[in-house]
Subunit: 111 residues, 2 copies
């Protein structure tokens, strides 16, 4: 039986690939709007080694599609597009809740 | 700076109390609608001992309000109302994605 529902803890940690199949990273967590209960964006964790030097990218939920064959989310963005958007390197002061700054990819912050 | 966003992994594991302050359990996970990215409901884990004999209850997201003082979610339901609704005991075959059965608390399954 297939459903339209998915558990949050199954999404966290799921691998994310570009449409080419290249692995980009993994979903670290989802950021939810408290009042509406809607996913504002997913945080994608990329690179690093043993948890050091990782980059964290906000990715709009509609850009992520689960690919049953790969058992991973497909992200309709290239690695370059991802790097061109907002990100946080470990330890940086990045305000994850602040969606006011104008980014090159404004859709990052749209619910 | 206060925001309207909250990370999914901070919600998972958060304690849940009745309005009286009585601890009811903890949020186990969120069930999300894949297409809309909306929380369909939260799963509340109650009772049990060392992970055995726990009950799992679907709870509508709008019924949960974070209480800063208690550092817990307030649930506007009594323990009796919770037990009167749908639940799963460990190991039971409960179809978490199936929102078709008529329950005594139909709002459980409303997004």
């Amino acid at each position: 039986m297939t459903h339209t529902l998915v558990p949050s803890d199954l999404i966290e940690g799921a691998p994310v690939c570009a449409l080419t199949g290249e692995k980009l990273g993994a979903i670290e967590r989802l950021m939810l709007d408290k009042s509406t209960g809607t996913v504002a964006y997913a945080v994608l964790r990329c690179g690093g080694f043993l948890g050091v030097g990782e980059h964290h990218y906000p990715v709009p939920w509609p850009k992520l599609k689960y690919n049953q064959m790969r058992r991973a989310f497909d992200l309709d963005m290239t690695a370059d597009q991802l790097r061109g958007g907002p990100s946080e390197l470990d330890g940086e002061a990045f305000d994850w809740g602040d969606r006011s700054p104008p980014y090159r990819h404004p859709q990052y912050w749209t619910v």
